[in-house]
């Protein structure tokens, strides 16, 4: 068996010259050049490899070798030294790494055997299958890197979403379909207004037209205002009724719209179209 051939000399000082592993019976006293890595880091390094093909590719690429022409003996030795070291360090190796070690050793030994006289040119180089697999793996390794450069949702790309419109939108629909709901809301407000009735201020000539303007003013920006917020309970029953009539009138004229997320939810009021409403009241 060939001894470790690749890394001559250049032993890092911290590497102690003692038998650190046995590769096929040969004592290994020096770490191969590629292995000048603090042993603690080895676990990390191994994790960096996606498998035996990846490790093998690394060994080949690191030495600027062509996959098509792997010096199998050298690479095999390096690979085995690597694997052996892992075992010495009690790093759990996936079975695939050992399988590859066996395959490499087999290829190496086949290449060392004298070639039988060939009958045809069909006989494969023992490396052919391995080379094919390495090439194939390398393609996808590259493809995976390419994939990672694409803009990725959540990393580079953020979808822009808007909330759904409030679910039930009604102007005339609510007038007809959900009038009971509206009246219910009204009844609540009236009842509360009555509770305040005690200090009613004498009605000071509240006109419907004036109230229409006021309601629209309240709705100036695009915001939603809660239905009951449009009422001033201090105004008592009369004021509340006038406001209610103003709201009905504005609904009829489609100046405002009522919005309700679900049936028993709050009713909101909003201006339909600020521009045209502005124009109408200017």
């Amino acid at each position: 068996m060939a001894s470790l051939s690749a890394p001559e000399a250049e032993v890092a000082p911290e590497i102690i010259a003692e038998v650190i592993a046995r590769v096929y019976g040969e004592a290994v006293t020096e770490l191969p050049e590629d292995l000048y890595i603090p042993p603690d880091a080895l676990a990390v390094v191994l994790e960096a490899f996606e498998g035996p093909l990846d490790l093998l590719l690394y060994l080949i690429r690191k030495q600027n070798l062509d996959i098509l022409d792997i010096p199998i003996s050298r690479i095999t030795d390096q690979y085995l030294a690597y694997i052996d070291l892992m075992q010495v360090l009690h790093i759990d190796l996936a079975a695939e790494y050992l399988l590859m070690a066996a395959l490499l050793a087999e290829i190496k030994s086949r290449m060392l055997l004298p070639k039988p006289v060939q009958t045809g040119d069909e006989e494969d180089d023992p490396r052919a299958e391995l080379v094919r697999r390495l090439q194939e793996y390398e393609r996808f390794k590259k493809a995976a890197e390419d994939l990672d450069t694409l803009p990725q949702e959540g990393r580079d790309i953020f979808p822009a979403l808007a909330d759904a419109p409030l679910k039930i939108v009604v102007s005339e629909e609510l007038m007809i379909g959900d009038l009971p709901g509206l009246l219910d809301a009204m009844r609540d407000i009236l009842r509360r207004a009555e509770l305040r009735q005690s200090h009613v201020i004498g009605s000071e000539g509240l006109t419907l037209e004036q109230r229409l303007r006021e309601v629209l003013e309240r709705l100036q920006d695009d915001s939603l205002v809660m239905f009951h917020e449009l009422f001033f309970l201090q105004e008592g029953r009369m004021g509340v009724v006038v406001t209610f009539m103003a709201i009905l009138e504005l609904l009829k004229q489609k100046m405002i719209t009522l919005v309700q997320e679900s049936v028993f939810a709050q009713i909101y009021v909003r201006r339909m179209d600020p521009q045209s409403a502005e124009a109408a009241w200017a």
Binding site: E50, G51, P52, L53, D54, N64, L65, D66, I67, L68, D69, P71, I72, S73, A94, E96, M100, M111, D121, D125, R127, A128, V131, R132, R133, Q135, E136, Y137, E138, R139, F140, K141, K142, A143, A144, E145, D146, L147, D148, T149, L150, P151, Q152, E153, G154, R155, D156, I157, F158, P159, A160, L161, A162, D163, A164, P165
Partner: protein, 205 residues
């Protein structure tokens, strides 16, 4: 007949914004009742108009695998990304390699992926990919065990901002198997003659 062009555009705009997933043209058409349904052309025209209208905005309307979506322009990603305290973990190499093999070779079985990668593909990775709906089971290979055939989905295209698989970065940089084998054979033959195994022409990359 049909609806006012501006209204159609607004509906298309609102629906693309409101939909949690990209909207296809058909999906958009289905929002309309029969009498008012815009044609495919009309929907596409509305989309074109919107793309122009949003040219100056921080969001853009783009097409991905399953349809159209609005997304924040890349320019703002460094700030907007901070909405999430933690950066999304990078996709692991194992996951990316598995995904790449499925994307370029689909449909494939898990065993085929394993044979290309030379390692067992962890169940966790397949789970994650299925979970994200980047891949799906597209059928079964009719061999003993009926292994599942895995393929990528529209969500995969969406996630990587691709309209279709043809937009994947080409594998072209790599030689196809046939020529590799041919090259290899020639090369090995030459090497044999020389009897020296080392140092051949380096052609990769």
């Amino acid at each position: 007949m049909g609806l006012d062009r501006k209204l159609v555009r607004g509906i298309v705009e609102g629906a693309i914004f409101a939909s949690p997933v990209p909207m296809s043209v058909e999906g958009l058409q289905q929002l309309f009742v029969d009498g008012e349904k815009p044609s495919r052309q009309e929907v596409l025209r509305a989309i074109g108009e919107l793309q122009t209208a949003y040219a100056e905005r921080a969001v853009e309307l783009i097409e991905v695998g399953s349809g159209f979506r609005f997304q924040v322009r890349a320019l703002y990603a460094p700030w907007v990304g901070k909405l999430w305290e933690e950066k999304p973990q990078r996709l692991s190499r194992a996951l990316l390699e598995t995904l790449a093999i499925i994307a370029y070779r689909q449909p494939v079985t898990r065993a085929e992926i394993e044979s290309i990668r030379g390692v067992v593909v962890s169940t966790q990775i397949i789970r994650t990919l299925l979970d994200r709906e980047w891949i799906a089971v597209a059928g079964h290979r009719e061999v003993p065990g009926r292994p599942a055939l895995l393929a990528t989905t529209r969500q995969f295209l969406d996630a990587f901002s691709l309209k279709n698989l043809a937009e994947l970065p080409p594998l072209a940089a790599l030689r196809d198997i046939d020529s590799i084998t041919r090259d290899l054979e020639q090369h090995l033959a030459a090497a044999k003659q020389k009897e020296l195994p080392i140092e051949g022409p380096v052609s990769n990359e």
